[in-house]
């Protein structure tokens, strides 16, 4: 029999046992405006690091038969403000800079000269819906080679014609399904789907697949992580 029980039964030991639960009060920090944003950001970053840890470099996202495709007219547009940012397709080039050997302007023809591949993959939106689409384009890794990118650098950073911007970790960029996409359902990208060139990343959540790309930078430091990321979404969000 515990000693204090012999002397003061009941209350004392109860109080002591209750005190042992006091670490639970730390949860209260989540209710304090001073700590809440930091704690939640910490939780999100911890999750990002953990899922980057168990991300398998060459594990492929599932691919699907043509019969399983979502009809093109039912492929959602979730453009955050405008469907058509008025890109002049005749003069469009992709500006490449940062940690690359061959910085400069890359025309669509130059990109399309790289080996083309198509894939039927699932596009999953952070909202919870998903569709299966058919996408054609070039491997992002081939393009990185073309521009002489330092693949030891940590990130790619993209600017878009509609003001959207996005970043991508190098390991995910080198994944064999990560694509610079210029075709959907075997036709050139339409304006609302990001003409002339978009990212298509089957191993990432939908908002990472930025549309209307205009520039591309290889870098170790990100001033901004992405349009949604800078408002509180996960910046890694690998699927």
């Amino acid at each position: 029999m515990p000693k204090d029980l012999e002397e003061k039964p009941g209350r004392t030991v109860g109080r002591r046992e209750l005190l042992k639960l006091s670490p639970l009060l730390l949860f209260g920090a989540f209710a304090l405006p001073k700590f809440q944003p930091g704690l939640l950001k910490g939780g999100l970053d911890f999750s990002d690091r953990a899922s980057a840890q168990w991300h398998r470099k060459n594990h492929l996202a599932p691919t699907f038969a043509d019969a399983e495709l979502t009809p093109f007219d039912q492929f959602p547009l979730n453009s955050y403000d405008i469907d058509d940012p008025d890109v002049d397709l005749t003069k469009w080039t992709l500006t490449v800079d940062g940690d690359v050997h061959r910085a400069g302007e890359y025309t669509l023809a130059r990109i399309q000269a790289l080996p083309k591949f198509t894939q039927n993959t699932r596009h999953i939106c952070v909202e919870g819906w998903d569709v299966i689409g058919r996408f054609g384009g070039v491997r992002l890794s081939d393009f990185l080679e073309l521009v002489g990118a330092n693949t030891q650098a940590r990130f790619l950073y993209f600017d878009c014609a509609d003001g959207y911007y996005e970043s991508l970790d190098m390991e995910s960029a080198l994944h064999p399904q990560s694509m610079l996409c210029y075709e959907m359902y075997d036709r050139p990208l339409t304006r609302e789907h990001g003409a002339p060139l978009r990212l298509l990343l089957p191993i990432k959540i939908g908002y990472k697949s930025a549309k209307y790309l205009t520039s591309f930078r290889v870098t170790d430091v990100l001033a901004k992580a992405g349009y949604w990321e800078d408002q509180g979404y996960s910046s890694y969000y690998g699927l």
Binding site: M1, L5, P9, G10, V13, G14, R15, E17, L18, K20, L21, P23, L24, F27, F30, L39, L40, K41, G42, G43, L44, F46, S47, S51, W54, H55, R56, H59, A61, P62, T70, D73, Q74, F75, P76, R122, I124, C125, V126, E127, G128, W129, D130, V131, P202, I203, W228, Q231, G232, Y233, S234, G238, L239
Partner: protein, 235 residues
Amino acid sequence: MSTILPTSSAAQVDFETHAKSFHIVYEHPWAVRFCHWANTISLFILAGSGLQIFRAFPSFGAKIPQHHLFNVPPSLTLGGWLGGALQWHVTFAWIYSVTGIIYVGYQLSSGNYRQVLFRLRDLRGVWPMARFYFFFGRKPAQTEPYNSLQKLAYTVAVLLGVISVLTGIVLYNPVQFSFLGSLMGGFHWARLWHFGVLVALVLFVVGHIVMVLLHGWNNLVSMFTGWKRNPDYLE
């Protein structure tokens, strides 16, 4: 008095020096109480933020055309918007999982699980207990800290917890865990299972709270202090 203690970890103390004699039993070890409350907090936060996430696409069908299943009232949600809700959800998913693992690990390693794990031999005790609670049947004799119906409820709740985490992992990383996802019937079904588990857990919590209210103060206090005064199985 002599009583066979319910578990190896339980301690029992009798007081007969008092005007009225009573005994108290150490029923809930610290690890169980701590995990219970940490899990409770996490579950409410996960439910609220989960409902906010659901508001972004309140359907289990196609995106186009989109048919809302129902609209969750904002007062039941947490996080303010999808991004905020996701931060709460992933943060507390870790806390929920870790305290769940500690709970199950403690129960198994300490042997404490014996008092609460539902086993086949508890099956025949379920109906008499249900008859007592819901159909005005006679109260079956209490011989253990947990009756058969309780064991069933708590064992199912732990299983629901496991399913909620596994379906959540598939929703969070459907490509890395595509095999696990295929066992659930794919991404769509994982989302439906995840929601179904929420409904089941809400039903469990409601039933649990009703029972706690029915069983009075001493019972509630034991989940804070571990000690239960005059439990009915020692009467």
